[in-house]
Amino acid sequence: TPDGRVFAPPAARRLARELGVDISDVEGSGPGGRVSEADVRAHHEKAEEHDETAA
């Protein structure tokens, strides 16, 4: 979006902070790319897997 805004509910934004995920990196599965908690979790899991394979 023009101002770099991520459309995501508060609970998803908080989860991203909790998991140390930058929410603007998360691909949203909702309408218009809205990011859900599940999207954040999936992104985090993928990143961890990636870290593990990298390590």
């Binding site: 979006t1 023009p2 101002d3 805004r5 459309f7 995501a8 509910p9 508060p10 934004r13 908080r14 902070r17 909790e18 909702g30 309408p31 218009g32 790319g33 809205r34 990011v35």
Partner: protein, 474 residues
């Protein structure tokens, strides 16, 4: 905790018991932190004692009288008389109930309460001077501090509040006997709310404002609805004039104003309410002693965790910057308390709603059309006028409209402006919509109870997609 001339310690010291401070203290205590809340004046701060609550109480009470006086069309004939002293007593009762509630809630959550004025000694110590002579002082060590010292009204040179006929908003809210003629300097939200209260009490109200209209910051078509109603109430507006000086006459004052071209005008009045804005109270605490930066205007800059430049010192509420609103203060207080408790909290809200409790009310959240454009969005606008709402007509309050600003692609809602009945309540749904990342379709597809004003929100969302039922789509 022992309170005396000894040094005590606390994990979290909160200075100021307004909606920023007391909310921060309660949440900190809820999170298991040993918390101390200090205030030099009264629980609830400006908001509960001299601001939000007393003003809204007088607005409601004068509304009851006004509504009854103007209901002949509905077949209701009444000639209400207002006893201002009784109205004050009732208002004080409301304030007392809420402030003593705050005290009880603090205690029930385990917050230590201290009455006194706090000053920083350094970034881990504060001195607290107890009010009254010979009350002594104490020193308190803290791990974290939350500064929530609020704001005070700006004074106009020459119109200092110590002179009896010159009123601050606080004086105006405490009036036992309304003046015959009131001059209001400033047509911001506080000036407009109080002008309306006094006009409904039957006072002859004149407003002088330096700018060229009421309620700067609101769009013209929004403030116009309020201006129209204020005109109907008989409030007399004079724009482009600054209050210059005043002078006592036999039974009142005469105030001289000056416009841009240096032309003077004079106004007779019994009292003069000066409501030209508020400024942060950061001086009371000597923040510099703790190394806390204060900007030129007196605000304490903070980051998105409400933290100042000093790691363990937070600032929330009016002292931490605009918007100077109670609910913004509380939100910051909650975030500061949670951050101190180690929670992943942040001031990540997309929007902070704001309401003006004029007649009718105004409420806004997020972006206007112009702001959306400036942010690079292609805005899509939906509107719905209350005169097309069944609920509006059936309550006899049918002025104003709901406007929703969305972005074009997915229809994400970016903002909303409402002027009309219960605007302050209706904005809640749109604030949630914005936080949730809701689209126009999400709001339009949600079933809204009939007949309610909230249907106007749904229809505005439909209108943006040319799908409104009860208004023509443009």
């Amino acid at each position: 905790m022992v309170v005396g001339d000894v040094t005590t310690g606390t994990e979290v010291l909160v200075v100021g018991a307004g909606p920023g401070g007391y909310v921060a203290a309660i949440r900190a205590a809820q999170n298991g932190l040993d918390t101390t809340l200090v205030d030099r004046d009264a629980y609830g701060g400006t908001c509960l004692n001299y601001g939000c609550i007393p003003s809204k109480a007088l607005i409601s009470a004068t509304d009851v009288a006004h509504d009854a006086r103007n209901a002949t069309e509905m077949g209701v004939h009444a000639d209400p008389v207002i006893h201002t002293d009784e109205m004050q007593e009732w208002k004080e009762g409301v304030v007392d109930q809420l402030t003593s509630g705050v005290e009880k809630l603090c205690k029930a959550n385990g917050v230590n309460l201290i009455e006194g004025e706090a000053t920083f000694v350094d970034d881990s110590t504060a001195r607290i001077a107890h009010g009254g002579e010979g009350q002594g002082s104490e020193t308190i060590d803290f791990e974290h501090a939350i500064v929530a010292t609020g704001s005070r009204p700006i004074q106009v040179p020459g119109f200092e509040f110590e002179h009896d006929p010159i009123w601050s908003s606080r004086d105006a809210l405490e009036v036992e006997e309304p003046p015959e003629k009131l001059l209001v300097v400033g047509a911001g939200y506080i000036g407009m709310e109080l002008s309306t209260v006094f006009a409904k009490m039957g006072v002859d109200v004149t407003v002088v404002e330096m700018l060229d209209g009421i309620l700067p910051g609101y769009e013209d078509d929004v403030s116009r609805v309020v201006k129209q109603r204020a005109d109907d109430l008989g409030i007399d507006f004079n724009f482009g004039e600054a209050a210059n000086e005043w002078e006592e006459t036999g039974d009142g004052v005469v105030v001289t104003t000056e416009n841009e071209d240096g032309e003077e005008s004079t106004y007779d009045a019994d009292k003069v309410l000066v409501a030209v804005g508020r400024q942060p109270v950061s001086d009371s605490l000597d923040p510099e002693a703790a190394g806390v930066e204060v900007d030129e205007q007196g605000f304490i800059p903070t980051d998105d965790q409400a933290r100042t430049n000093v790691e363990n010192v937070f600032a929330v509420g009016d002292v931490a910057g605009e918007p100077m609103l109670a609910h913004k203060a509380s939100k910051e207080g909650i975030v500061a308390a949670e951050v101190i408790a180690g929670e992943p909290a942040a001031l990540d809200q997309q929007a902070i709603p704001a309401a003006v409790f004029t007649d009718p009310e105004i409420a806004t959240v997020g972006m206007t059309e112009e702001e959306a454009e400036e942010a690079g969005f292609t805005p899509k606008i939906g509107e719905f006028p209350f005169r097309a709402s069944g609920r509006s007509l059936s309550t006899g309050e049918d002025e104003g409209f709901v406007r929703i600003v969305a972005e074009e692609d997915a229809g994400f809602i970016l903002g909303a402006q409402i002027v009309g009945p219960e605007a302050s309540e209706l904005i809640a749904e749109l604030a949630l919509a914005i936080e949730m990342g809701a689209t126009l379709e999400d709001v339009a597809s949600t079933v809204h109870t009939h007949p309610t004003l909230a249907e106007a929100v749904m229809e505005a969302a439909e209108n943006a997609d040319d799908q409104a039922i009860h208004t023509l789509n443009r």
